[in-house]
């Protein structure tokens, strides 16, 4: 299925959000996630199944004013 990760299109198989993060190389990173604009907590990633067309945001710390 086709999804978007941080604005870039990706082809993925059936997966949870947790597995997707590991597949993409985020293991051990301090990041937060949102699916289709809604917050997806770290504790819920294992139960959050990715659907076709989902828009995933993966964010990390950044300088801010």
């Amino acid at each position: 299925m086709r999804i978007s990760v941080n604005g870039a299109a990706q082809e993925v198989g059936e997966t949870s959000l947790a597995a997707l993060l590991e597949h993409l190389g985020y293991s051990g990173a301090c990041v937060a996630t949102a699916v289709n604009g809604a917050f997806a907590s770290a504790s819920a990633r294992g139960q959050t199944m990715i659907q076709n067309g989902d828009e995933i945001e993966i964010v990390g710390p950044m300088q801010g004013g």
């Binding site: 941080n6 604005g7 993409l24 190389g25 985020y26 990173a29 301090c30 990041v31 937060a32 996630t33 949102a34 604009g37 809604a38 917050f39 907590s41 770290a42 945001e57 993966i58 964010v59 990390g60 710390p61 950044m62 300088q63 801010g64 004013g65």
Partner: protein
């Protein structure tokens, strides 16, 4: 000062953006004496992991972290961003920015109030970036905010206090609410002016980060904030329109 039950020894808070290097950022924070720095969230690359290195620098500073929702234009975006920030930075503090105008980066009071209400109910300790509008301030307090962050001038403009009368009115109207002047400060004298007016603290970024010597400017702002606070506590005189001699006129030679 106290914000949400946390006692702060410094009344200067710093943004962490736009510094020429991480080393300069670290030196500026240390010279400023700031105990609170603002941070943000952006898309993280799995390969570059730039955010992870930045976060380690901030943790090494040993200061309180105030995440922001910069770039959000709706309550929904800001609420989601705040929840992500709480998880990444492990704090209930959130500097709530909901921008309503692209040119002035003026906050959208309607979306701001809605986000403040939802986040306060969800256990967040909200620092709302707002204007000097007393009605908006009252609504934000009703929404659960215990700190207000009125702007001095548009973000990054360096113009100082654009509306001293409005800010003075806001200060007087809510005398007991901790207020941090956020945005628009360009010079230490602007910070001192705000502190002399009775504001509790200053939050700034660009004026230090983009100075020719950020660390030295951080030191200057530290002194200005301390001087302004000391002056406020010393009860300044009222301004007058006409001169009043300071040297006694009694016994003056050549007097008729």
């Amino acid at each position: 000062m106290q914000v949400y039950g946390v006692t702060l020894g410094s009344r200067l808070m710093l943004g962490t953006s736009q510094y020429p290097s991480p080393a300069v950022l670290t030196e500026a924070v240390q010279r400023s004496g700031a105990e609170v720095v603002t941070v943000s969230l952006r898309r993280e690359s799995a390969t570059a992991r730039a955010g992870q290195a930045f976060w380690q620098i901030i943790r090494d500073l040993g200061v309180h972290v105030l995440p922001n929702t910069a770039g959000c234009h709706s309550a929904r975006e800001a609420i989601t961003t705040a929840k992500m920030a709480r998880e990444v930075f492990a704090t209930n503090w959130i500097k709530l920015e909901v921008i309503g105008d692209h040119d002035t980066l003026q906050p959208d009071p309607f979306e701001l109030m809605e986000a403040a209400r939802v986040l306060s109910q969800d256990g967040f300790e909200v620092f709302p970036y707002t204007t000097e509008d007393c009605v908006v301030a009252d609504r934000l307090l009703q929404a659960g905010c215990r700190v207000l962050m009125p702007w001095g001038a548009p973000i990054g403009s360096g113009r100082g206090l654009n509306n001293p009368y409005g800010l003075r009115s806001l200060r007087a109207r809510f005398a007991d609410v901790p207020m941090v002047i956020d945005a628009g400060i360009g010079l230490p004298s602007h910070a001192a002016q705000a502190m002399e007016m009775g504001f509790d603290a200053i939050l700034l970024n660009t004026a230090i980060a983009k100075a020719g010597n950020p660390a030295a400017m951080a030191g200057a702002f530290r002194l200005a904030v301390e001087a302004g606070r000391a002056a406020r506590l010393a009860d300044p005189i009222d301004a007058r329109d006409m001169a009043v001699p300071s040297t006694p006129v009694f016994g003056q030679a050549f007097a008729s």
